[in-house]
Subunit: 369 residues, 2 copies
């Protein structure tokens, strides 16, 4: 398999702005090209757009706006893990030899149609993700004797970390009391337990080994990929307090990279809601079942940014199609030791966990420098 590296990235701040999807996509792509003037756009073979937006032909539009005439150009959608699906697709184009360099650009507007799960009749009227998250929270709390105050730590930690991220939607820090006193949305969820929809874009440029070495002296390599789709409806989950697709994707990614989970130095996990962070940490094997909150508390108390250094979805906001790419950019910055106040202690390996719709599907990527 041809080795695949990441040579460049660009992003926009995550905001509540009402911009056109084309403009948002172009803004992060433009940011990328401005930071890496060595890149020759003529050498870009593919442009993949990750989004849930209903606009069509966005990859051709973005290509034209950016002055690229790629061979391959299309949009990719898989709800909240569209971003990592696009990265894996780019990896396969390069690894197969069909492309040498691929731009992946993800974007979403605050009013994305991907936020409502329209198809799952097992939900009745309860089509918003807060309803599955609420059931997950109830189930997780019951199974492991976790309190609402325990779960609130996730939001406190991730908002604290997001404050060090200039592109994050949230600019504030909160206490456990603040989380507990925030607006109650369901029996089990408060406003500050939730990631918020927003407008934002993130782009990365992937390349073959040879081109990566030519273009950057800080290459980051994708060494592990794992993906799994269990179902489309969350009631098919085997368990409501663990993530089966995440387990399988995580194991596959670690196997491909020849690493053990204990060797992962820094990770972005998909905390769409507070309960998702401990569940993901457990399903990935960072800690035992029911121990996720203890791990998070320890990290928070020691001010260790190992998990979700950019502030997670809860702190950064969640522009669906951009999220997986933004998570990946954070891990790139961590491995390149350029994450400023969010920098963890000289990490060599990083993991990205990106999922959709109650973890009915998951992607796990492993990056190494």
């Amino acid at each position: 398999m041809i080795k695949v590296g990441i040579v460049a990235y660009g992003t926009t701040p995550f905001t509540k702005d009402d911009h056109k999807i084309e403009s948002i996509l172009h803004k992060s792509t433009n940011n990328l090209f401005q930071k890496y003037p060595k890149i020759d756009k003529k050498e870009i073979d593919a442009v993949l757009v990750s989004t849930n937006d209903n606009s069509k032909y966005l990859s051709a539009i973005l290509s034209e706006m950016s002055g690229i005439q790629p061979k391959i150009a299309h949009s990719i959608e898989s709800l909240c893990n569209s971003g990592t699906n696009s990265i894996v697709s780019a990896f396969s184009y390069i690894s197969s030899g069909l492309a040498d360099m691929v731009l992946v650009s993800g974007a979403e507007r605050y009013d994305s149609p991907g936020q409502i799960l329209e198809w799952d009749n097992s939900r009745g009227e309860f089509k918003h993700p807060i309803f599955w998250a609420s059931i997950f929270s109830k189930s997780y709390k019951q199974e492991y004797g976790i309190t609402e105050e325990d779960l609130a730590i996730v939001s406190v930690k991730n908002h604290k970390q997001a404050k060090e991220n200039p592109n994050a939607l949230s600019k504030k820090t909160y206490t456990v009391d603040d989380v507990m006193n925030s607006k109650k949305l369901t029996d089990d969820l408060r406003l500050l337990d939730c990631s918020r929809p927003c407008t934002g874009s993130a782009s990365i440029l992937l390349a073959s080994e040879e081109m990566t070495k030519k273009l950057t002296d800080m290459p980051i390599w994708i060494t592990g990929i794992g993906q799994k789709t269990i179902s489309a409806g969350f009631t098919k989950n085997i368990s409501l307090s663990s993530m089966e697709s995440t387990k399988i994707a995580g194991q596959s990614a670690l196997k491909m990279s020849n690493l053990d989970i204990s060797q992962i130095d820094v990770a972005e996990v998909h905390d769409a809601f507070s309960v998702c962070e401990p569940m993901a940490l457990e399903s990935l094997g960072f800690t035992k079942s029911g121990q996720g909150i203890n791990m998070i508390k320890n990290l928070h108390e020691t001010n260790n940014f190992k998990i979700n250094p950019r502030g997670g979805l809860i702190g950064c906001g969640h522009p669906l199609g951009a999220t997986g790419i933004s998570q990946t950019i954070e891990i790139i910055q961590q491995l390149q030791n350029t994450a400023d106040n969010r920098q963890t202690d000289n990490p060599k390996t990083g993991l990205i966990h990106n999922m959709s719709a109650a973890a009915t599907s998951s992607t796990v990527l492993i990056l190494e420098k």
Copy 2:
């Protein structure tokens, strides 16, 4: 590069029915599995859905409906060439080694949002594809001294061929006079010059060389792939009477397969409108500039089904996300000598040409047995 084969296909009739997109997708997939009971769904690593439909998470939904739990699952959109973009993506997953077997399923409803080109302000209000097709027709007729009656032959031939295709939308044959007397839509286009939106789905299953040989004794191999995106707006075309992206994609595909265009025995080309067929034949190199109509007349008079044996988009209807896959299925049937009354004379090589939005992007595939 790992060799990639096609081991199975399934389709629905193309109709004007008002079915849900999930049902249509499932119908062609189901048709595939019924015809090939040897296929073990557990061995399907990826499910890619090709569509312009606005519904989300369709690949996970189709997977669940079909009893598949893939690793990779997402939707792909690039307007009218979504289908071949998905096939190339499947090829790259297998060729890179990330997948052994990939299901590609394309579908569209008659009211697809991909039929209106919303983004191109250079069109003013004229956002329907008939307007670029009208400009192409005017330009092509002027440049080569072609008449409207000449162009009408494309529709006559393709409706005749579609009559031998049980899945085609059109069931009738027409004369040149019928075409000339059909409703005038623009200065240059009549109703029977146009492919019609419809409801339909087509699915194929791609596999690695080893798995292909295990599953079928009539393997069809993808030996050539070419793609090119020139722009997103048709006013950027260098010429309005040839297809630049098709030229480049065709040359790349032929180079990859080590074939010359004269060695192609049968082809599906993207006749979204009558003028597109001669333009595509010329841009692919089947004949010289301005000679496309003569070639089509000769084929029609000798009842040679070499070009668009299934009846083209004009005869079959054009369910956008399904079209490229349906074209591919026709070439598979031709190479397997199972095309019944449409069968050409023992072809060994076949070509698929699938494009979007005034040929601003094109895909060309070459299949061999």
